[in-house]
Subunit: 176 residues, 2 copies
Amino acid sequence: MESCTVLPFSRSLSLLSRRHDRDEACPCPASLRVKRRSSQPTRIHCQKMYVPGFGEGSPERKAANHLHKFFTHIAVRIVSAQLQSYNREAYDELTEFLSRHSMNDGDKFCADLMRESPRHQILALRILEVRSAYCKQDFEWDNLKRLASKLMGEANTTLMREYVLETSHVETESGK
Amino acid sequence: MESCTVLPFSRSLSLLSRRHDRDEACPCPASLRVKRRSSQPTRIHCQKMYVPGFGEGSPERKAANHLHKFFTHIAVRIVSAQLQSYNREAYDELTEFLSRHSMNDGDKFCADLMRESPRHQILALRILEVRSAYCKQDFEWDNLKRLASKLMGEANTTLMREYVLETSHVETESGK
């Protein structure tokens, strides 16, 4: 695997200053951050692959944005399931609201729910609370990492195995 | 925040056995797993909120599936950017292939790329290698968690502040 780029020092600094998202988890090794204090120009190795096309953001921010929407979906499901069992009236109101409003933009959905009526406002505040608690406490981040790595390994193996099997089959047939 | 459910022991066990995804990061506290060895029926508290609608999977698995596709997109961008700088012919071939094939299903995209020609096959193997390395080494999982939590806090604060400002404005106007 190639390391991404060997950059002149000044260019690396400008990249660093543009990537605010990664301030606390800088894509470059600690050695680089030490070198920033030195005034000597030098060439440094960034250990990570260069990912183009994210502008001011980062892949992590894009994934976090997606998870933000996902957590709102989940919070609505959680609250809906809770209401179904002990507050049928509120459950019906939420279901009816869901049928009229898209959840593509979770924040807009919550903002609209908040402004629908005082009863809907209570539901919205509860969804905000639940999605925050789910993100910070319930969601299994370590499990996500483990599952994603496992899925990646399995998918790569499957793709290569299928290709090899297919090719061997053709070779066997042509060898007849 | 409500804890999700108080379940009879037998029901909890059946739920546990269905959630294979979470085997290594069980949604219930260690106290439950200890109680499984006991034969006495008992009522236990699951500390996590019940999320309906994921069947045999879990929210973590759904998020992992999405990230799997995302990593394939990123790997294609990485490889494309690398080729652009030192192998223009391969870059053009990959760009041309991208214009003809959807990346909605990353695995299918790689499988098709692998079968296009021997040169495309090398590109496909490289994409497989890069997406695996990106998932396991480069992607900043801790940063993802930090950004998602930060985004959640900011979004909730913004939504509530906007609502309060809007309401105060109405009250101020009506109080004139």
